[in-house]
Amino acid sequence: MPLDQQKALLFGSAAAVRLLLFTAFPSLPNRLAGRVEVSTPVTSFKRLQEGLFLYTHNVSPYDGGVYHQAPLLLPLFSLLPNPSYYPFATSVLFTMVDLLSALALAQIAESGQSVVTRLFKSSRKDLRWSSVAIAAGFLFNPFTVATCIARSTSALTNLFILTAMAKASQGASFTFVLALSFASYLAMHPLLLFPPLLVLLYDARASKTKSAPSPFLFSVVHTLGLAAAVCALLFVSALLTGSWDFLAATYGVRLLLPDLTPNVGLWWYFFTEMFDSFREFFLGVFWLHVASYMPGLTIRLRKQPLFVATTLTGIFAIFTPYPSIADATLYLSLVPLFRHLFPLMRYTFLASASILYASFLGPAFYHLWIYAGSGNANFFYAITLVWSLGLSIIVGDSLYAALRDELDVERPELRGEEVKRI
């Protein structure tokens, strides 16, 4: 079967599955939108509807203290018919978002930046999956489907992150900057992806044109471009809502964590238990912890920038204040790009077992805690710990594998030997 046909079949079936779920189970979207694993305070569709209602009634959408998402989502969704009566348009929109994300993912896979970069060629470069398989892994991942059905706005963030990666690996400066500025505008933390993706863009451009541009000028131009794009978006948002209040209600909430609704991350429990006087300090520590990986990984894995970006999305899925399974699904869909590292990974069973364990027991424990009343918050928190443990095993193990892979290239004579620590 030719490639295009495969793709068409894949996309068609993925769209059909989503639309079928939307129409055959009309109560499913709202039920999923209420799940804490899928909808966080900063991505929930229900909160978006609340903001939308205020917005269409000419009240500031942030007045209610419920809506914490970017202002530009409001005009977009106010164009659609009311989802409580005509859910079909919204369903189509979110299905399209997923398909576009899968398309971007396929583009990343086709660029081959995951195995062969300008400065590095993996010794196992022939071991890889086709772009269709990787896109299928994204589209039929149950976490992706759940995110789509719940209409969480993190699907949009994922779309922009994947598009930015795809454009960076293709060397398309303008669209890369635009996509990344949208992602940062929506969720703030994707801004940390800029340095590794800039390196990726530089490598892609350099290998395309055969004459490397000046790295300094290149980074200055793109940084200014990103700053300009983000500022323009913020300015338009301020025009739209009539004030700069949205900054505190969107990014302020992500930074300061006033809403301690449980989610699959590690922050909420920690900060419910925190002494008030140490709250600011540990907010700083947690955010610095997230940010501190970026420079170290970018420097250490300078030759594999796409891998750095992938690992950072994994770190976001674990350590950001409001993670959901949408963040995990982004990471888990990017990992198959590095199929060649799988033989070097040591804890695949442990990682996949704990992910599965957490995804089945998590909802059960949440039910025990909230609805049945026979458990308490520690039940759910323990499961989120297991979930984060599973993800961080994958992150750490893949890092090890990537470094081992680099070592194999540098010292082919050591290949296959056991690594020892002295």
Binding site: S277, L288, P295, G396, E410, I422
Partner: protein, 573 residues
């Protein structure tokens, strides 16, 4: 923790490629092993810069964040002033009372009388902080004073607050002279004399002057005792100039002050009717209060405000802890034993809430016993009312008073409530700490104002002193700016109140002292200060270590390893 994994993973493959000089091979196994080739310059540099980048984040961002978020904000407090106030170094309260004398005499004679009386008075006075100063008043308006006084009674103390007492010298021909009469509803002392008792200009003493001096001394004796007692209990700083109190006076004052409620700008009065049956179910409390209690409350309005509410509770039973009333044949009455009176209030079941609103609550309970158990009296004394210190008063209204018809029907009239209301008024006077003497109510109230002003100044000062101690003893508590502001306000108002006292304007002093006390309490009980009182520094280890320890260990180890290899490389060169 992922940081350790990340750091381990990044260093693991490198370490077996480390140049051998850094670890001199001591074991045979190590010597036999194939020597790993030297590490490439580029990868060495890259690893170091990766480690350095982690450290850069920690040092450049982490330390400022730590410094900024855990710094404890402590506003500056005028500690020395606060301590001085608490030790009584700044304000020595004095009570110069002005007494106006109206004498229908030629000015020369009047001045002479005044001077000799003042001499006699000064000889009598043992308490230097409290002294009476006589002055001549303008000749009185020829009005019949006894009509005017009731209206003027309260106004005199609040408006014309400079004058504590007026003396009117009234020449009479008959009766024993000199004699005096203190008007009960006005701060006025009428002194009757015969004209020949005016001292001649040459003499240095006269019976009239001595008489007036003794009368005045008698009137203000209790006030002096109260103030002296207050000064002696407030702090040791004032003991030097204090007049000594006899042990009996001291004990009596102690009893009074324990009985009285703590001063508050607003008191809440609750009048409750309790009955074990279904009657009486109504009482004409509103008009009774208007008639019997409201005038008293009005005259107190210069010192405190009052809010009033009332309630009726039917089928209110005794608490099971006390013995049930017994019938006493001799008294022909049901009797309660004296030791049971303290348990009379059924705190568990009677809805007497401890505090409604802002101020303290004063409870007045009117108990109407069952007809089969009346009259109900206290066994030892035969009384039907008693006072519960710092809480309120109880009165029993017997439905069938001995020798009368039943006065209690379904509802109690104003007249039936009269005796109980008088009892309550007296109890309220005791509860507010009003002195027993002298007989003039305005004088007693102005005495209370002076005593309250002084005690408020003392309590605000000692609160500030305590705050200063807390500030110095607990360096770990944060002190917000609002505390500093309250302290400044309290100090300023204390100073003003003290000045007013010195000027003899006691009403103003009371108001300022009240503000000072409020601000001092606000500063001392600031909520955000107490949060960390019980948080010693050792506990911070428990807060920091569990999270930061695991993160720091790989960072520190990696940095140490790099430093060591860097140093040995330098030495080897």
């Amino acid at each position: 923790m992922p940081p350790s994994e990340g750091a381990d993973a990044s260093s693991a493959p490198k370490e077996d490629a480390k140049p051998s000089p850094s670890s001199p091979p001591s074991l045979d196994a190590v010597r036999l092993r194939k020597q790993p080739p030297p590490e490439g310059r580029e990868s060495l540099w890259r690893r170091r810069s990766a480690i350095f980048s982690f450290w850069a984040v920690v040092l450049c961002l982490g330390l400022p964040v730590w410094w900024k978020t855990t710094a404890i904000y402590r506003a500056d407090l005028p500690l020395q002033d606060m301590t001085d106030w608490a030790e009584g170094k700044i304000c020595k309260p004095v009570f110069p009372l002005r007494i106006a004398v109206e004498a229908p005499l030629p000015p020369q004679d009047a001045h002479h009388l005044l001077r000799t009386t003042q001499h006699a008075l000064d000889d009598l006075n043992e308490f230097s902080a409290h002294h009476l100063r006589l002055m001549l008043a303008d000749p009185p308006a020829p009005a019949n004073a006894s009509q005017q006084v009731v209206v003027d009674g309260t106004r005199n103390t609040s408006d014309d607050e400079d004058i504590a007492l007026s003396i009117r010298l009234i020449p009479v021909e008959t009766g024993a002279t000199p004699r005096s009469h203190l008007q009960p509803y006005s701060p006025t002392l009428d002194v009757y004399y015969t004209p020949n008792q005016i001292p001649p200009p040459s003499s240095t003493g006269s019976p009239l002057a001595t008489f007036i001096a003794h009368e005045l001394h008698k009137i203000f004796a209790e006030e002096q005792a109260q103030l002296a007692y207050l000064l002696s209990t407030a702090s040791g700083g004032h003991s030097s100039k204090m007049k000594s109190l006899s042990p009996e006076t001291s004990a009596e004052l102690q009893r009074q002050s324990t009985r009285a409620l703590k001063y508050a700008p607003t008191y809440h009065l609750t009048f409750s009717l309790f009955t074990p049956t279904s009657t009486p179910s109504a009482w004409d409390i509103e008009s009774a209060l208007r008639q019997y209690v409201a005038p008293l409350l009005d005259s107190f309005s210069a010192i405190s405000n009052f809010t009033v509410d009332t309630q009726v509770q039917l089928y209110a039973t005794f608490s099971p802890s006390i013995r049930q009333p017994e019938y006493d044949e001799a008294l022909k009455a049901w009797t309660l034993r004296k030791e049971d009176l303290s348990g009379f209030i059924n705190a568990a079941e009677w809805p007497l809430s401890p505090s409604i609103g802002k101020g303290p609550t004063v409870n007045f309970v009117l108990y109407v016993p069952d007809k089969t158990q009346s009259p109900l009296l206290v066994k030892e004394s035969g009384a039907n009312s008693w006072l519960i210190p710092q809480w309120g008063g109880v009165a029993i209204l017997n439905p069938t008073a001995p020798g009368k018809d039943a006065i209690v029907s379904a509802s109690l009239t104003k007249e039936a409530l009269g005796p109980a209301m008088h009892t309550f008024s007296n109890q309220l006077i005791s509860l507010l700490g009003l002195p027993q003497m002298p007989s003039s109510l305005p004088l007693r109230i102005s005495t209370l104002a002076r005593v309250r002003a002084a005690s408020l100044i003392f309590s605000a000062s000692s609160t500030l002193g305590a705050l200063a101690q807390v500030y110095q003893k607990l360096p770990s508590i944060p002190v917000p700016d609002s505390v500093a502001k309250s302290v400044d306000l309290a100090l300023a108002h204390l100073q003003l109140a003290c000045d007013r006292l010195r000027e003899g304007r006691f009403q103003g002093a009371l108001e300022l002292a009240r503000i000072a006390e409020g601000e001092a309490e606000k500063a001392f009980f600031e909520r955000s200060m107490v949060g960390q009182v019980y948080f010693p520094d050792e506990h911070k280890v428990a807060v920091y270590l569990p999270l930061l320890g695991p993160v720091a260990v790989p960072l520190v180890m990696a940095a140490l390893k790099e430093l060591k290899s860097g140093l040995s490389a330098l030495r080897g060169r």
